[in-house]
Protein backbone atom coordinates (compact mmCIF):
# COMPACT_ATOMS: atom_id res chain seq x y z
CA UNK A 1 0.00 0.00 0.00
CA UNK A 2 1.11 3.48 -0.75
CA UNK A 3 2.29 5.67 2.05
CA UNK A 4 1.80 8.90 0.15
CA UNK A 5 -1.32 10.67 1.39
CA UNK A 6 -4.19 11.12 -1.07
CA UNK A 7 -5.05 14.36 0.65
CA UNK A 8 -2.96 16.36 3.03
CA UNK A 9 -3.62 19.55 4.96
CA UNK A 10 -0.65 21.28 6.53
CA UNK A 11 -0.66 23.89 9.24
CA UNK A 12 -4.12 25.29 8.49
CA UNK A 13 -5.17 28.34 10.51
CA UNK A 14 -8.45 30.15 10.53
CA UNK A 15 -9.74 32.85 12.83
CA UNK A 16 -13.11 34.52 12.99
CA UNK A 17 -12.44 37.87 14.62
CA UNK A 18 -11.04 36.97 18.03
CA UNK A 19 -12.14 33.37 17.82
CA UNK A 20 -9.42 30.96 16.78
CA UNK A 21 -11.10 28.06 15.01
CA UNK A 22 -7.95 26.43 13.65
CA UNK A 23 -4.41 27.03 14.81
CA UNK A 24 -2.01 24.99 12.75
CA UNK A 25 -4.19 21.98 12.07
CA UNK A 26 -2.89 19.05 10.03
CA UNK A 27 -4.59 16.13 8.37
CA UNK A 28 -3.37 13.21 6.30
CA UNK A 29 -5.76 10.98 4.42
CA UNK A 30 -4.26 7.86 2.86
CA UNK A 31 -5.62 6.05 -0.18
CA UNK A 32 -8.41 3.60 0.56
CA UNK A 33 -8.90 4.44 4.21
CA UNK A 34 -11.75 5.74 6.31
CA UNK A 35 -10.38 8.50 8.51
CA UNK A 36 -12.70 9.62 11.27
CA UNK A 37 -12.32 13.13 12.63
CA UNK A 38 -13.65 13.55 16.16
CA UNK A 39 -13.49 16.36 18.64
CA UNK A 40 -15.48 18.35 21.13
CA UNK A 41 -17.63 21.27 20.05
CA UNK A 42 -15.33 24.11 19.02
CA UNK A 43 -12.36 21.80 18.48
CA UNK A 44 -12.24 22.93 14.87
CA UNK A 45 -13.35 19.82 13.09
CA UNK A 46 -16.08 21.54 11.08
CA UNK A 47 -13.81 24.40 10.12
CA UNK A 48 -11.09 21.95 9.08
CA UNK A 49 -13.55 20.09 6.87
CA UNK A 50 -14.98 23.33 5.48
CA UNK A 51 -11.48 24.39 4.44
CA UNK A 52 -10.97 21.07 2.66
CA UNK A 53 -14.36 21.22 0.94
CA UNK A 54 -13.97 24.86 -0.09
CA UNK A 55 -16.78 26.23 2.07
CA UNK A 56 -14.24 28.32 4.01
CA UNK A 57 -10.89 29.76 2.95
CA UNK A 58 -8.08 29.14 5.47
CA UNK A 59 -6.03 32.18 6.58
CA UNK A 60 -2.80 30.22 6.18
CA UNK A 61 -1.54 26.74 5.51
CA UNK A 62 -1.81 24.56 2.43
CA UNK A 63 -3.81 21.66 1.10
CA UNK A 64 -2.35 19.13 -1.30
CA UNK A 65 -4.31 16.61 -3.30
CA UNK A 66 -2.20 13.70 -4.56
CA UNK A 67 0.91 15.78 -4.06
CA UNK A 68 -0.33 18.89 -5.83
CA UNK A 69 -1.14 22.09 -4.01
CA UNK A 70 -4.79 23.08 -4.42
CA UNK A 71 -6.69 26.13 -3.22
CA UNK A 72 -10.45 26.35 -3.04
CA UNK A 73 -12.55 29.48 -2.93
CA UNK A 74 -16.00 27.95 -3.34
CA UNK A 75 -17.47 24.46 -2.78
CA UNK A 76 -17.59 24.09 -6.57
CA UNK A 77 -13.78 24.32 -6.70
CA UNK A 78 -13.23 21.25 -4.56
CA UNK A 79 -15.93 19.40 -6.44
CA UNK A 80 -14.19 20.17 -9.71
CA UNK A 81 -11.07 18.29 -8.59
CA UNK A 82 -12.97 15.26 -7.30
CA UNK A 83 -13.75 15.98 -3.65
CA UNK A 84 -17.41 15.42 -2.78
CA UNK A 85 -19.12 16.26 0.50
CA UNK A 86 -22.22 14.72 2.11
CA UNK A 87 -23.89 16.95 4.69
CA UNK A 88 -25.86 15.96 7.78
CA UNK A 89 -28.80 18.13 6.76
CA UNK A 90 -29.93 15.65 4.07
CA UNK A 91 -29.09 18.14 1.35
CA UNK A 92 -31.54 16.98 -1.27
CA UNK A 93 -34.36 18.83 -3.03
CA UNK A 94 -37.50 17.07 -1.76
CA UNK A 95 -39.81 17.71 -4.71
CA UNK A 96 -37.34 16.52 -7.33
CA UNK A 97 -36.94 12.85 -8.17
CA UNK A 98 -33.91 10.73 -7.35
CA UNK A 99 -32.28 11.05 -10.76
CA UNK A 100 -32.78 14.84 -10.76
CA UNK A 101 -31.20 15.04 -7.31
CA UNK A 102 -28.21 12.93 -8.29
CA UNK A 103 -27.53 15.25 -11.21
CA UNK A 104 -28.61 18.50 -9.53
CA UNK A 105 -26.19 21.24 -10.53
CA UNK A 106 -24.50 19.10 -13.23
CA UNK A 107 -27.36 18.12 -15.46
CA UNK A 108 -26.68 16.36 -18.74
CA UNK A 109 -28.11 17.94 -21.87
CA UNK A 110 -29.25 16.12 -24.98
CA UNK A 111 -26.76 15.78 -27.80
CA UNK A 112 -27.14 17.82 -30.97
CA UNK A 113 -29.18 20.99 -31.48
CA UNK A 114 -31.87 19.93 -28.99
CA UNK A 115 -29.29 20.22 -26.26
CA UNK A 116 -27.10 23.03 -27.53
CA UNK A 117 -29.82 25.38 -28.81
CA UNK A 118 -32.93 24.33 -26.89
CA UNK A 119 -30.96 23.41 -23.74
CA UNK A 120 -33.03 20.24 -23.42
CA UNK A 121 -32.08 17.89 -20.60
CA UNK A 122 -31.35 14.27 -21.32
CA UNK A 123 -33.56 12.76 -18.64
CA UNK A 124 -33.23 9.28 -20.07
CA UNK A 125 -29.44 9.28 -19.81
CA UNK A 126 -29.52 10.72 -16.28
CA UNK A 127 -32.05 8.11 -15.16
CA UNK A 128 -30.10 5.21 -16.61
CA UNK A 129 -26.85 6.42 -15.06
CA UNK A 130 -28.56 7.08 -11.70
CA UNK A 131 -29.92 3.55 -11.66
CA UNK A 132 -26.41 2.21 -12.18
CA UNK A 133 -24.97 4.39 -9.44
CA UNK A 134 -27.65 3.32 -6.96
CA UNK A 135 -27.32 -0.34 -7.91
CA UNK A 136 -23.51 -0.31 -7.70
CA UNK A 137 -23.75 0.75 -4.06
CA UNK A 138 -26.10 -2.14 -3.38
CA UNK A 139 -29.01 0.06 -2.40
CA UNK A 140 -31.73 -2.38 -3.26
CA UNK A 141 -34.88 -0.83 -1.90
CA UNK A 142 -34.91 2.24 -4.07
CA UNK A 143 -36.92 0.75 -6.88
CA UNK A 144 -38.16 3.70 -8.81
CA UNK A 145 -35.60 6.27 -9.85
CA UNK A 146 -38.42 8.68 -10.81
CA UNK A 147 -39.71 8.72 -7.25
CA UNK A 148 -39.73 12.15 -5.61
CA UNK A 149 -37.16 12.28 -2.82
CA UNK A 150 -39.79 13.47 -0.34
CA UNK A 151 -41.42 10.04 -0.54
CA UNK A 152 -38.22 8.48 0.79
CA UNK A 153 -37.28 7.86 4.41
CA UNK A 154 -34.43 9.78 6.03
CA UNK A 155 -32.02 6.90 5.51
CA UNK A 156 -32.96 6.57 1.87
CA UNK A 157 -32.47 10.30 1.37
CA UNK A 158 -29.02 10.12 2.89
CA UNK A 159 -28.33 7.11 0.67
CA UNK A 160 -29.19 9.32 -2.31
CA UNK A 161 -26.71 11.93 -1.04
CA UNK A 162 -24.01 9.31 -0.61
CA UNK A 163 -24.74 7.88 -4.04
CA UNK A 164 -24.45 11.37 -5.50
CA UNK A 165 -21.10 11.90 -3.81
CA UNK A 166 -19.85 8.47 -4.87
CA UNK A 167 -20.97 9.00 -8.45
CA UNK A 168 -19.01 12.20 -8.93
CA UNK A 169 -16.11 11.86 -6.54
CA UNK A 170 -12.92 10.61 -8.05
CA UNK A 171 -10.53 11.45 -5.21
CA UNK A 172 -12.07 11.96 -1.77
CA UNK A 173 -15.47 11.76 -0.09
CA UNK A 174 -16.17 13.85 3.00
CA UNK A 175 -19.11 12.80 5.17
CA UNK A 176 -20.07 15.53 7.63
CA UNK A 177 -22.09 13.91 10.43
CA UNK A 178 -23.99 11.80 7.90
CA UNK A 179 -25.99 9.96 10.55
CA UNK A 180 -26.81 12.87 12.84
CA UNK A 181 -30.36 13.17 11.53
CA UNK A 182 -31.02 9.44 11.34
CA UNK A 183 -32.29 6.67 13.61
CA UNK A 184 -30.19 3.72 14.73
CA UNK A 185 -31.27 1.35 12.01
CA UNK A 186 -30.84 3.88 9.25
CA UNK A 187 -27.48 4.96 10.63
CA UNK A 188 -26.25 1.39 10.34
CA UNK A 189 -27.30 1.34 6.73
CA UNK A 190 -25.31 4.48 6.03
CA UNK A 191 -22.30 2.89 7.77
CA UNK A 192 -22.61 -0.03 5.40
CA UNK A 193 -22.52 2.42 2.52
CA UNK A 194 -19.28 3.85 3.91
CA UNK A 195 -17.80 0.35 3.88
CA UNK A 196 -18.86 -0.03 0.27
CA UNK A 197 -17.03 3.19 -0.58
CA UNK A 198 -13.89 1.90 1.09
CA UNK A 199 -14.14 -1.33 -0.88
CA UNK A 200 -14.02 0.77 -4.01
CA UNK A 201 -10.76 2.28 -2.83
CA UNK A 202 -12.14 5.77 -2.31
CA UNK A 203 -10.68 7.47 0.74
CA UNK A 204 -13.33 8.78 3.11
CA UNK A 205 -13.21 11.46 5.80
CA UNK A 206 -15.96 10.87 8.34
CA UNK A 207 -16.85 13.56 10.85
CA UNK A 208 -18.91 12.17 13.67
CA UNK A 209 -19.88 12.62 17.27
CA UNK A 210 -20.93 9.04 17.58
CA UNK A 211 -18.04 7.03 19.07
CA UNK A 212 -19.48 3.53 18.53
CA UNK A 213 -20.05 4.36 14.87
CA UNK A 214 -16.55 5.77 14.52
CA UNK A 215 -15.05 2.66 16.08
CA UNK A 216 -17.11 0.47 13.80
CA UNK A 217 -16.03 1.87 10.44
CA UNK A 218 -12.88 3.97 10.86
CA UNK A 219 -9.39 2.74 10.02
CA UNK A 220 -7.82 5.66 11.85
CA UNK A 221 -9.27 8.29 14.13
CA UNK A 222 -7.98 11.84 14.18
CA UNK A 223 -8.76 13.66 17.39
CA UNK A 224 -9.09 17.43 17.18
CA UNK A 225 -8.58 19.56 20.23
CA UNK A 226 -8.34 23.36 20.53
CA UNK A 227 -8.01 23.97 16.83
CA UNK A 228 -5.31 21.43 16.09
CA UNK A 229 -4.70 17.74 15.83
CA UNK A 230 -4.25 16.24 19.30
CA UNK A 231 -3.64 12.65 18.17
CA UNK A 232 -4.28 10.05 15.53
CA UNK A 233 -5.21 6.61 16.87
CA UNK A 234 -6.70 3.40 15.55
CA UNK A 235 -9.73 1.52 16.85
CA UNK A 236 -7.43 -1.46 17.38
CA UNK A 237 -4.88 0.23 19.59
CA UNK A 238 -7.13 2.51 21.60
CA UNK A 239 -10.33 2.30 23.59
CA UNK A 240 -13.29 4.64 23.30
CA UNK A 241 -12.64 6.12 26.74
CA UNK A 242 -9.05 6.90 25.77
CA UNK A 243 -10.24 8.76 22.70
CA UNK A 244 -12.68 10.72 24.82
CA UNK A 245 -9.85 11.37 27.27
CA UNK A 246 -7.67 12.86 24.53
CA UNK A 247 -10.64 14.85 23.20
CA UNK A 248 -11.26 16.48 26.55
CA UNK A 249 -7.60 16.91 27.45
CA UNK A 250 -7.64 14.41 30.30
CA UNK A 251 -4.97 12.37 28.50
CA UNK A 252 -1.90 14.08 27.09
CA UNK A 253 -0.31 12.76 23.92
CA UNK A 254 3.32 13.09 22.90
CA UNK A 255 4.15 15.01 19.77
CA UNK A 256 5.77 11.92 18.17
CA UNK A 257 2.62 9.83 18.56
CA UNK A 258 0.48 12.31 16.72
CA UNK A 259 1.03 10.97 13.25
CA UNK A 260 0.27 7.29 13.28
CA UNK A 261 1.07 5.65 10.01
CA UNK A 262 -1.72 4.16 7.90
CA UNK A 263 -2.94 0.79 9.05
CA UNK A 264 -4.40 -0.48 5.84
Amino acid sequence: MSTKPALEAKNLSKTYGNVVALSGADLQLYPGEVLAVVGDNGAGKSTLIKCISGAEIPDSGEITLEGEVVSFHRPQDSRAVGIETVYQSLAVAPALDIAANLYLGREIRKKGPLGSIFRMLDNGAMKTASKDHIASLGISTIQNISQAVETLSGGQRQAVSVARAAAFSSKVIILDEPTAALGVRESNQVLKLIERLRERGLPVILISHNMPQVFEVADRIQIQRLGKRAAVVTPKTHQMNEVVGIMTGAIKVDEKDQTLKPVR
Binding site: A93, L96, L104, G105, R119, M120, S153, Q189, R196
Partner: protein, 340 residues
Protein backbone atom coordinates in the same frame (compact mmCIF):
# COMPACT_ATOMS: atom_id res chain seq x y z
CA UNK B 1 -22.38 -12.26 7.76
CA UNK B 2 -20.21 -9.19 7.54
CA UNK B 3 -21.59 -5.74 7.25
CA UNK B 4 -20.76 -5.30 3.59
CA UNK B 5 -22.29 -8.61 2.55
CA UNK B 6 -25.58 -7.60 4.05
CA UNK B 7 -28.21 -6.28 1.76
CA UNK B 8 -28.68 -2.59 2.35
CA UNK B 9 -32.40 -2.52 2.86
CA UNK B 10 -33.85 0.82 3.78
CA UNK B 11 -37.39 1.06 4.98
CA UNK B 12 -39.31 2.85 2.34
CA UNK B 13 -41.72 4.57 4.69
CA UNK B 14 -44.61 3.80 2.37
CA UNK B 15 -47.16 1.53 3.93
CA UNK B 16 -50.77 0.93 3.08
CA UNK B 17 -52.63 4.00 1.97
CA UNK B 18 -56.25 4.95 2.29
CA UNK B 19 -57.98 6.33 -0.82
CA UNK B 20 -57.77 9.78 0.78
CA UNK B 21 -54.01 9.52 1.18
CA UNK B 22 -53.67 8.29 -2.37
CA UNK B 23 -55.68 11.31 -3.57
CA UNK B 24 -53.42 13.57 -1.50
CA UNK B 25 -50.30 12.00 -3.03
CA UNK B 26 -51.71 12.25 -6.55
CA UNK B 27 -52.53 15.95 -6.17
CA UNK B 28 -49.13 16.45 -4.62
CA UNK B 29 -47.46 14.95 -7.62
CA UNK B 30 -49.60 16.63 -10.26
CA UNK B 31 -50.47 20.07 -8.85
CA UNK B 32 -52.37 21.20 -11.93
CA UNK B 33 -55.05 18.50 -11.61
CA UNK B 34 -57.19 20.35 -9.09
CA UNK B 35 -57.45 23.67 -10.99
CA UNK B 36 -58.18 21.67 -14.15
CA UNK B 37 -61.07 19.92 -12.43
CA UNK B 38 -62.38 23.20 -10.95
CA UNK B 39 -62.27 24.80 -14.40
CA UNK B 40 -64.27 21.97 -15.98
CA UNK B 41 -66.87 21.88 -13.19
CA UNK B 42 -67.35 25.65 -13.06
CA UNK B 43 -67.66 25.87 -16.84
CA UNK B 44 -70.25 23.07 -16.72
CA UNK B 45 -72.26 24.78 -13.97
CA UNK B 46 -72.31 28.16 -15.71
CA UNK B 47 -73.28 26.50 -18.98
CA UNK B 48 -76.19 24.90 -17.13
CA UNK B 49 -77.20 28.21 -15.51
CA UNK B 50 -77.12 30.19 -18.73
CA UNK B 51 -76.82 28.46 -22.12
CA UNK B 52 -75.36 31.66 -23.59
CA UNK B 53 -72.18 30.86 -21.64
CA UNK B 54 -71.06 28.31 -24.23
CA UNK B 55 -71.56 30.80 -27.06
CA UNK B 56 -68.23 31.09 -28.98
CA UNK B 57 -68.50 34.87 -28.77
CA UNK B 58 -68.77 34.69 -24.97
CA UNK B 59 -65.97 32.15 -24.57
CA UNK B 60 -63.74 34.28 -26.82
CA UNK B 61 -64.51 37.26 -24.63
CA UNK B 62 -63.52 35.34 -21.48
CA UNK B 63 -60.13 34.39 -22.90
CA UNK B 64 -59.54 37.93 -24.19
CA UNK B 65 -60.33 39.32 -20.76
CA UNK B 66 -57.80 37.07 -19.05
CA UNK B 67 -54.98 37.69 -21.55
CA UNK B 68 -53.25 40.40 -19.50
CA UNK B 69 -53.59 38.83 -16.05
CA UNK B 70 -52.73 35.46 -17.60
CA UNK B 71 -49.50 36.90 -18.97
CA UNK B 72 -48.56 38.65 -15.71
CA UNK B 73 -49.29 35.41 -13.85
CA UNK B 74 -46.47 33.69 -15.81
CA UNK B 75 -43.87 35.96 -14.24
CA UNK B 76 -45.58 35.75 -10.88
CA UNK B 77 -45.51 31.93 -11.03
CA UNK B 78 -41.77 31.90 -11.68
CA UNK B 79 -41.19 34.13 -8.68
CA UNK B 80 -43.54 32.20 -6.39
CA UNK B 81 -41.84 28.93 -7.42
CA UNK B 82 -38.64 30.28 -5.85
CA UNK B 83 -40.64 31.00 -2.67
CA UNK B 84 -40.68 34.72 -3.47
CA UNK B 85 -43.55 37.06 -4.27
CA UNK B 86 -43.91 40.08 -6.51
CA UNK B 87 -46.34 42.74 -5.33
CA UNK B 88 -44.95 45.14 -7.94
CA UNK B 89 -45.81 43.07 -11.04
CA UNK B 90 -48.87 45.14 -11.90
CA UNK B 91 -46.99 48.38 -11.28
CA UNK B 92 -44.18 47.23 -13.62
CA UNK B 93 -46.76 46.29 -16.25
CA UNK B 94 -48.52 49.66 -16.05
CA UNK B 95 -45.24 51.58 -15.94
CA UNK B 96 -43.86 49.81 -19.03
CA UNK B 97 -47.17 50.33 -20.84
CA UNK B 98 -46.83 54.06 -20.10
CA UNK B 99 -43.27 53.97 -21.45
CA UNK B 100 -44.48 52.31 -24.65
CA UNK B 101 -47.46 54.65 -24.96
CA UNK B 102 -45.72 57.91 -24.19
CA UNK B 103 -42.66 57.29 -26.35
CA UNK B 104 -45.08 56.70 -29.23
CA UNK B 105 -47.27 59.72 -28.45
CA UNK B 106 -44.87 62.33 -27.09
CA UNK B 107 -41.60 61.30 -28.77
CA UNK B 108 -43.16 59.97 -31.99
CA UNK B 109 -41.00 56.86 -31.88
CA UNK B 110 -41.80 54.10 -34.34
CA UNK B 111 -43.68 51.15 -32.83
CA UNK B 112 -40.77 48.74 -32.60
CA UNK B 113 -38.67 51.29 -30.74
CA UNK B 114 -41.43 51.92 -28.19
CA UNK B 115 -41.82 48.19 -27.61
CA UNK B 116 -38.06 47.68 -27.22
CA UNK B 117 -37.81 50.61 -24.81
CA UNK B 118 -40.71 49.20 -22.80
CA UNK B 119 -39.04 45.80 -22.66
CA UNK B 120 -35.77 47.42 -21.55
CA UNK B 121 -37.57 49.27 -18.75
CA UNK B 122 -39.35 46.04 -17.72
CA UNK B 123 -35.99 44.23 -17.53
CA UNK B 124 -34.55 47.12 -15.52
CA UNK B 125 -37.46 47.02 -13.04
CA UNK B 126 -37.04 43.24 -12.66
CA UNK B 127 -33.29 43.68 -12.18
CA UNK B 128 -33.87 46.27 -9.43
CA UNK B 129 -36.17 43.86 -7.57
CA UNK B 130 -33.72 41.01 -8.10
CA UNK B 131 -30.69 42.98 -6.92
CA UNK B 132 -32.45 44.24 -3.81
CA UNK B 133 -33.42 40.67 -2.95
CA UNK B 134 -30.14 38.89 -3.73
CA UNK B 135 -27.52 41.58 -2.98
CA UNK B 136 -29.13 43.73 -0.29
CA UNK B 137 -30.78 40.54 1.04
CA UNK B 138 -34.20 42.04 1.73
CA UNK B 139 -37.29 39.83 1.80
CA UNK B 140 -39.15 39.79 -1.56
CA UNK B 141 -42.38 40.91 0.09
CA UNK B 142 -40.81 44.12 1.42
CA UNK B 143 -38.76 44.84 -1.70
CA UNK B 144 -41.73 44.55 -4.02
CA UNK B 145 -44.03 46.41 -1.64
CA UNK B 146 -41.56 49.28 -1.89
CA UNK B 147 -41.03 49.07 -5.63
CA UNK B 148 -44.80 48.71 -6.13
CA UNK B 149 -45.22 52.22 -4.73
CA UNK B 150 -42.18 53.53 -6.59
CA UNK B 151 -43.17 52.16 -10.01
CA UNK B 152 -46.75 53.32 -9.45
CA UNK B 153 -45.57 56.82 -8.65
CA UNK B 154 -43.27 56.80 -11.69
CA UNK B 155 -46.20 55.82 -13.94
CA UNK B 156 -48.34 58.63 -12.59
CA UNK B 157 -45.53 61.19 -12.83
CA UNK B 158 -44.50 60.09 -16.30
CA UNK B 159 -48.07 60.01 -17.59
CA UNK B 160 -48.56 63.63 -16.43
CA UNK B 161 -52.08 62.53 -15.57
CA UNK B 162 -52.98 62.17 -19.21
CA UNK B 163 -54.32 59.00 -20.83
CA UNK B 164 -53.11 58.18 -24.34
CA UNK B 165 -55.95 57.30 -26.66
CA UNK B 166 -56.20 54.88 -29.57
CA UNK B 167 -55.47 57.37 -32.35
CA UNK B 168 -52.39 58.63 -30.48
CA UNK B 169 -50.77 55.18 -30.44
CA UNK B 170 -48.78 53.42 -33.13
CA UNK B 171 -50.09 50.48 -35.11
CA UNK B 172 -47.63 47.98 -33.67
CA UNK B 173 -48.61 48.88 -30.10
CA UNK B 174 -52.29 48.29 -30.89
CA UNK B 175 -51.52 45.12 -32.87
CA UNK B 176 -51.88 42.86 -29.80
CA UNK B 177 -55.57 43.84 -29.70
CA UNK B 178 -56.35 42.82 -33.27
CA UNK B 179 -58.62 39.82 -33.60
CA UNK B 180 -57.80 36.53 -35.26
CA UNK B 181 -60.69 34.32 -36.34
CA UNK B 182 -60.39 30.65 -35.55
CA UNK B 183 -63.63 29.03 -36.65
CA UNK B 184 -66.41 30.83 -34.82
CA UNK B 185 -63.98 31.83 -32.07
CA UNK B 186 -62.25 35.14 -32.19
CA UNK B 187 -59.07 35.58 -30.20
CA UNK B 188 -56.57 38.40 -30.25
CA UNK B 189 -52.88 38.51 -31.07
CA UNK B 190 -52.37 39.30 -27.38
CA UNK B 191 -53.98 36.00 -26.38
CA UNK B 192 -51.71 34.17 -28.81
CA UNK B 193 -48.62 35.88 -27.41
CA UNK B 194 -49.73 34.95 -23.89
CA UNK B 195 -50.24 31.30 -24.88
CA UNK B 196 -46.86 31.29 -26.64
CA UNK B 197 -45.17 32.57 -23.47
CA UNK B 198 -46.88 29.82 -21.45
CA UNK B 199 -45.51 27.32 -23.93
CA UNK B 200 -41.96 28.65 -23.77
CA UNK B 201 -41.87 28.93 -19.98
CA UNK B 202 -43.52 25.53 -19.47
CA UNK B 203 -40.78 24.06 -21.66
CA UNK B 204 -38.01 25.91 -19.86
CA UNK B 205 -39.23 24.84 -16.43
CA UNK B 206 -39.68 21.23 -17.42
CA UNK B 207 -36.87 20.49 -19.82
CA UNK B 208 -33.93 22.74 -18.95
CA UNK B 209 -31.44 22.77 -16.10
CA UNK B 210 -32.50 26.35 -15.32
CA UNK B 211 -36.08 25.19 -14.69
CA UNK B 212 -34.89 22.41 -12.46
CA UNK B 213 -32.77 24.88 -10.50
CA UNK B 214 -35.78 27.20 -10.08
CA UNK B 215 -37.73 24.35 -8.48
CA UNK B 216 -34.78 23.20 -6.37
CA UNK B 217 -34.12 26.74 -5.11
CA UNK B 218 -37.73 27.25 -4.06
CA UNK B 219 -38.00 23.79 -2.60
CA UNK B 220 -35.04 23.97 -0.23
CA UNK B 221 -32.61 26.81 -0.88
CA UNK B 222 -29.91 25.45 1.44
CA UNK B 223 -30.00 22.00 -0.17
CA UNK B 224 -29.85 23.60 -3.61
CA UNK B 225 -26.84 25.71 -2.58
CA UNK B 226 -25.04 22.69 -1.14
CA UNK B 227 -25.72 20.80 -4.37
CA UNK B 228 -23.70 23.47 -6.16
CA UNK B 229 -26.51 25.60 -7.57
CA UNK B 230 -25.83 29.33 -7.58
CA UNK B 231 -29.14 30.08 -5.91
CA UNK B 232 -28.67 33.85 -5.97
CA UNK B 233 -28.16 33.81 -9.69
CA UNK B 234 -31.25 31.66 -10.12
CA UNK B 235 -33.34 34.07 -8.03
CA UNK B 236 -31.99 37.11 -9.86
CA UNK B 237 -32.66 35.48 -13.23
CA UNK B 238 -36.25 34.77 -12.22
CA UNK B 239 -36.96 38.44 -11.40
CA UNK B 240 -35.25 39.50 -14.62
CA UNK B 241 -37.28 37.08 -16.76
CA UNK B 242 -40.42 38.17 -14.91
CA UNK B 243 -39.62 41.81 -15.73
CA UNK B 244 -39.44 40.86 -19.39
CA UNK B 245 -42.75 39.00 -19.19
CA UNK B 246 -44.44 41.97 -17.47
CA UNK B 247 -43.30 44.27 -20.27
CA UNK B 248 -44.85 41.93 -22.86
CA UNK B 249 -47.99 41.87 -20.70
CA UNK B 250 -47.92 45.68 -20.92
CA UNK B 251 -47.99 45.45 -24.69
CA UNK B 252 -50.96 43.07 -24.47
CA UNK B 253 -52.61 45.53 -22.05
CA UNK B 254 -52.28 48.38 -24.58
CA UNK B 255 -53.86 46.21 -27.26
CA UNK B 256 -56.65 45.06 -24.96
CA UNK B 257 -57.65 48.53 -23.76
CA UNK B 258 -56.58 50.30 -26.98
CA UNK B 259 -55.03 52.96 -24.78
CA UNK B 260 -52.18 53.60 -22.38
CA UNK B 261 -53.19 54.89 -18.99
CA UNK B 262 -51.69 54.88 -15.52
CA UNK B 263 -55.11 53.80 -14.29
CA UNK B 264 -55.25 50.65 -16.41
CA UNK B 265 -54.52 47.35 -14.76
CA UNK B 266 -54.44 48.57 -11.17
CA UNK B 267 -55.77 45.20 -9.97
CA UNK B 268 -53.07 43.20 -11.73
CA UNK B 269 -50.84 42.86 -8.65
CA UNK B 270 -53.28 40.86 -6.59
CA UNK B 271 -55.17 39.29 -9.52
CA UNK B 272 -51.95 37.65 -10.73
CA UNK B 273 -51.28 36.18 -7.28
CA UNK B 274 -54.91 34.99 -7.21
CA UNK B 275 -54.45 33.20 -10.54
CA UNK B 276 -51.21 31.56 -9.41
CA UNK B 277 -52.66 30.40 -6.10
CA UNK B 278 -55.87 29.06 -7.64
CA UNK B 279 -53.64 27.36 -10.20
CA UNK B 280 -52.17 25.17 -7.47
CA UNK B 281 -48.69 26.70 -7.14
CA UNK B 282 -47.57 26.69 -3.54
CA UNK B 283 -46.76 30.06 -1.99
CA UNK B 284 -44.01 28.24 -0.08
CA UNK B 285 -42.15 27.58 -3.32
CA UNK B 286 -40.87 24.59 -5.21
CA UNK B 287 -44.22 23.07 -6.07
CA UNK B 288 -46.59 23.90 -8.89
CA UNK B 289 -47.00 23.96 -12.64
CA UNK B 290 -47.03 27.06 -14.77
CA UNK B 291 -50.00 25.78 -16.78
CA UNK B 292 -51.98 25.80 -13.52
CA UNK B 293 -51.73 29.60 -13.47
CA UNK B 294 -53.37 29.74 -16.91
CA UNK B 295 -56.17 27.59 -15.50
CA UNK B 296 -56.29 29.89 -12.49
CA UNK B 297 -56.60 33.01 -14.62
CA UNK B 298 -59.28 31.41 -16.79
CA UNK B 299 -61.18 30.15 -13.71
CA UNK B 300 -61.38 33.72 -12.38
CA UNK B 301 -62.50 34.90 -15.83
CA UNK B 302 -65.11 32.13 -16.08
CA UNK B 303 -66.47 32.97 -12.62
CA UNK B 304 -66.74 36.68 -13.36
CA UNK B 305 -68.36 36.05 -16.72
CA UNK B 306 -70.60 33.21 -15.57
CA UNK B 307 -71.89 35.08 -12.53
CA UNK B 308 -72.67 38.11 -14.69
CA UNK B 309 -74.55 35.94 -17.16
CA UNK B 310 -76.39 34.31 -14.26
CA UNK B 311 -77.67 37.80 -13.45
CA UNK B 312 -75.84 38.36 -10.16
CA UNK B 313 -74.54 41.74 -9.04
CA UNK B 314 -70.78 42.33 -9.59
CA UNK B 315 -69.85 42.12 -5.90
CA UNK B 316 -70.75 38.45 -5.95
CA UNK B 317 -67.78 38.05 -8.28
CA UNK B 318 -65.38 39.30 -5.62
CA UNK B 319 -67.09 37.09 -3.08
CA UNK B 320 -66.63 34.04 -5.30
CA UNK B 321 -62.97 34.86 -6.08
CA UNK B 322 -62.26 35.31 -2.37
CA UNK B 323 -63.75 31.92 -1.55
CA UNK B 324 -61.79 30.36 -4.42
CA UNK B 325 -58.49 31.73 -3.12
CA UNK B 326 -59.04 30.50 0.42
CA UNK B 327 -60.18 27.10 -0.81
CA UNK B 328 -57.15 26.80 -3.08
CA UNK B 329 -54.69 27.64 -0.30
CA UNK B 330 -56.45 25.24 2.10
CA UNK B 331 -56.12 22.47 -0.47
CA UNK B 332 -52.45 23.38 -0.91
CA UNK B 333 -51.83 23.11 2.85
CA UNK B 334 -53.56 19.75 2.91
CA UNK B 335 -51.55 18.49 -0.06
CA UNK B 336 -48.30 19.66 1.49
CA UNK B 337 -48.95 17.35 4.42
CA UNK B 338 -48.42 14.43 2.05
CA UNK B 339 -44.74 15.28 2.26
CA UNK B 340 -44.47 14.04 5.83
Amino acid sequence: MTLSDAEIAFQSGEGKQSPRERMQKLLHRYPSISPGIVLLISAGVFWFLNPNFKDPFNLSLVIQQVAVVGAVAIGQTLIILTAGIDLSCGAITVFTSMVMGRTAFANHLPGWQSVLLGVAVGLLCGAINGLLITKVKLPPFIVTLGTYNIFNALSLLYSTGRDIGTNELTKLLLWTGSAVKIGSFSITVGVMIMLLMYGILAYSLRFTAWGRHVYATGDDIEAARLAGIETKRVIFSVYLVAGFIFSIAAWILIGRTQSASANNGIDLNLDSITAVVIGGTSLFGGRGRIIGSLYGAIIVGVFRDGLTLAGLAPYYQSLAVGILVITAVSIDQWIRKARN
